[in-house]
């Protein structure tokens, strides 16, 4: 049988069988159905309900975004850190003596240059270890020397020249801490605490001197400042917050 649209083929070629072979090879393709795009069934209302729920959930997420396209705002606007753990944060309480000494040891770094790490001074500088003005109950003397510096002989009678004032920018906490530290280190052990309150008084007294800003002398110390600093004494075993030096709440 000849194909009417292939007239130039030789009669002897069996076009049917070659055509069938081509179709057989394409059998898988030939049996394919055609894609029917014509469907237009209505979508059930449940789909729309589901989309509404999805949009709602999305909206809840978006609500956390704060101000949109504000590239400088890295936290939610008006964010305040409210912690959930029961006790507020804070270091474990320590005894008042330890707390003041811990802070005082850091302040003492300024004094090491002259008075040496072991408080013995040495050569050109007086020793703080065992010094009368450091120890004893007349704490106002010690405070005046720290705040204003000293000119002339020390408690031992030896003259070391002029000690520069250390009181500029020194707050009551720093003063109380360094005094407590020196009075309980290098072999000294008064066992008591100079409180912030006492140090604040000392600063007031120092400002009310006759010549504020000038170094004190041994004479001035003996005449006017040979007394304890005013203020409530603090039991050195009281438990304090080592950072704020406030009494620790239990």
């Amino acid at each position: 049988m000849q194909h009417s649209d292939k007239p130039d083929l030789d009669e002897t070629l069996n076009v049917t069988s070659s055509h069938e072979r081509m179709l057989r090879d394409a059998a898988a393709v030939a049996r394919e159905k055609h894609v029917n795009e014509g469907g237009s069934e209505p979508m059930s209302l449940w789909i729309f309900a589901a989309c509404a729920v999805i949009l709602l959930a999305g909206g809840l997420a978006l609500g956390n975004a704060g101000s949109f396209f504000n590239y400088n705002q890295t936290v939610k606007p008006d964010y305040v850190r409210i912690l959930k753990d029961a006790e507020g944060g804070g270091p474990p309480p320590v005894t008042a003596l330890k707390a003041y000494m811990a802070q005082g040891s850091k302040i003492y770094g300024k004094c090491i240059g002259c008075h040496a790490p072991d408080g013995k001074g040495g050569g050109a500088y007086p020793a703080l270890a065992g010094s009368d003005w450091v120890l004893g109950d007349d704490t106002e003397r010690f405070a005046m020397v720290i705040l204003n510096g000293l000119s002339g002989p020390t408690s031992t009678g030896k003259d070391f020249g002029v000690m520069p004032a250390q009181g500029i920018g020194m707050g009551p906490r720093d003063l109380a801490a360094v005094m407590t530290y020196v009075r309980n280190s290098f072999g000294n052990s008064t066992g008591d605490v100079i409180t912030e309150e006492m140090a604040a008084e000392a600063i007031k007294i120092s400002e009310a001197r006759a010549n504020p800003g000038t170094p004190v002398t041994a004479g001035e110390l003996d005449a006017e400042h040979a007394k304890p600093l005013p203020g409530e004494p603090l039991d050195p075993a009281t438990m304090l917050n080592p950072v704020t030096l406030e009494p620790a709440e239990e």
Binding site: N36, S67, Q73
Partner: protein, 501 residues
């Protein structure tokens, strides 16, 4: 023969010639992809085992968890996922544009370049040259050859689209075209910003999170959905349930998809709106997922017996169910404010739920669609039918149980981990120990998937070697009943004009 029959025959012959022109590149992508899937599954078993047994294979530095897990993800995404996608894209675009592939050689060479780059990249990761950027761990040398290979593969499909016949363009082509345009844009900009520029550590982290999401939502999802829109009506013969809705679904994906990703970094010092905008977009992804899934499942529902019989439809329908679950998981995992559950986003952010979500998208949805495509396309391009319906059945059963279990375990396990992590009153070891039982089950699930892949790869390799059945009768999953339109089963060279319909 009457004229309508002749035009149908001519159409069939055209389609067959298109298939033949694509045989080498498509078979290469599918077969090497399946081999990479096997590698990925093996690496997945090893990494999963190390979560609950850290001393397992601990003497080999190449198999440290921190190297083998990124290698597993890389093999799964770039070795299997991308190559399967390439095969799917070039075949369907050629068919729907009615154009033979005239550059099959170029595509094949490009495919080999892609494979070589991924191989070297995975070896680089295992050898300790990983970059530390999630999903971009391959050493910097690998990315440029991959991009060039991609251009060599995809450009022909774009050309075919351009010269397609006049008339209506089917929705699948829009999905594929979009994926083909999105992928290079996402790929190049992300890699340039993260590996090329510097000085913006948080910006780079944001880019990598966006890249991770964009690869899933703007490449794997549209490719899979495009194939599904073709396979379901094609094999079932039923009309697409509501065709106009399909384009709405496409544009919903196009509008929502590019914004998602930053929600993985919620709480980091990024501009605050970014992660929540990302969460919003990720939640809204459920809408196009639902539209496509329900549209096609309703189409397939009217052809129940065909779904049971046809390997293609079984896998495709299972994949579409996976798409719906993916949409639901998107809503659940990215919500910072769910009733009853609370801040699920914060809870699951740093847990194995993210891994479960990735596998849901990559395996339960995309891979199942890839399997459905492979079972449809390979007989057409090799002109042989699948050898054994039992091998296909085993593949299906083990896959469904394996990946279903894997996804459920990972998502739920992540939630449990997250509850432990957020319970600040307990010491950390409480949260750390919670992962163990789920890791054990994950390892078992990966073993199921390994078995499924063995059946699949074997079967595919035999087809690649042209050892399939010569028959015009398709391999269906049930014994053919009396009066099958394809004629008695088992006939070799079953020919004749009657068989051509």
């Amino acid at each position: 023969m009457s004229t309508p029959d002749k035009s149908l025959e001519q159409d069939a012959v055209l389609r067959a010639s298109i298939d033949r022109s694509l045989r080498h590149p498509v078979m290469f992508f599918f077969t090497s992809g399946a081999a990479w899937l096997a590698v990925a599954i093996l690496l997945g078993i090893i990494s999963s085992a190390k979560v609950h047994s850290p001393e397992f294979l601990a003497d080999c530095p190449w198999l440290t968890y921190g190297r083998v897990f990124p290698a597993h993800q890389t093999a799964l995404v770039y070795g299997w996922g991308c190559q399967a996608a390439f095969g799917m894209i070039i075949w369907l675009m050629a068919r729907l544009s009615r154009q033979e592939c005239r550059a099959a050689g170029t595509v094949l060479v490009a495919g080999h370049v892609w494979n070589a780059a991924v191989t070297l990249g995975v070896i680089g990761i295992l050898g300790g040259a990983g970059t530390g950027v999630p999903w971009m761990e391959m050493p910097a040398f690998a990315w440029v050859p991959m991009f060039l290979a991609y251009v060599g593969i995809a450009i022909w499909s774009m050309v075919q689209f351009k010269v397609r016949p006049e008339g209506h363009t089917y929705v699948s082509q829009w999905y594929l075209m979009a994926a083909v345009i999105w992928f290079p844009w996402v790929f190049v900009s992300s890699h340039l910003l993260v590996h090329g520029f510097g000085g913006s550590p948080l910006g780079a982290a944001n880019v990598s999170a966006w890249y991770h999401s964009a690869l899933l939502l703007l490449f794997f999802v549209p490719v899979g959905t495009g194939l599904a829109y073709y396979l379901v009506p094609k094999v079932s013969g039923r009309p697409v349930y509501n065709y106009s809705l399909s384009m709405i679904g496409f544009w919903a994906l196009a509008i929502v998809g590019p914004w998602a990703g930053a929600q993985r970094l919620t709480g980091a010092p990024l501009p605050n709106f970014l992660p929540y905008l990302g969460a919003f977009a990720a939640i809204l992804f459920a809408i196009p997922a639902a539209i496509a899934g329900i549209n096609l499942l309703k189409t397939a529902a009217t052809a129940g017996p065909t779904v049971v019989e046809s390997p293609t439809l079984r896998f495709t329908v299972a994949g579409l169910v996976g798409l719906l679950v993916l949409g639901a998981a998107s809503v659940f995992l990215n919500s910072p404010d769910l009733p009853l559950f609370g801040n699920v986003l914060a809870m699951t952010q740093f847990t194995m739920s993210g891994y479960g979500y990735d596998l849901l998208a990559l395996y339960f949805f995309f891979s199942f669609l890839a399997f459905g495509t492979i079972y449809f396309v390979v007989p057409r391009i090799t002109r042989r039918e699948w050898l054994s319906r039992r091998l296909i059945s085993m593949h299906f059963m083990f896959s469904v149980y394996g990946v279903g279990g894997l996804v459920v375990i990972a998502l739920f396990g992540g939630l449990m981990q997250g509850i432990g992590q957020e319970d600040f009153a307990q010491p950390w070891q409480d949260a750390a120990r919670r992962a163990d039982p789920y890791a054990v089950f994950t390892t078992i699930a990966w073993c199921f998937l390994l078995v499924s892949n063995v059946f699949f790869f074997l079967h595919l390799a035999l087809m690649w070697l042209r050892l399939g059945r010569r028959s015009s009768h398709p391999t269906l999953l049930v014994k053919s009943h009396h009066g099958s339109p394809h004629g008695p089963e088992g006939d070799i060279d079953n020919a004749g004009p009657a068989a051509a319909h």
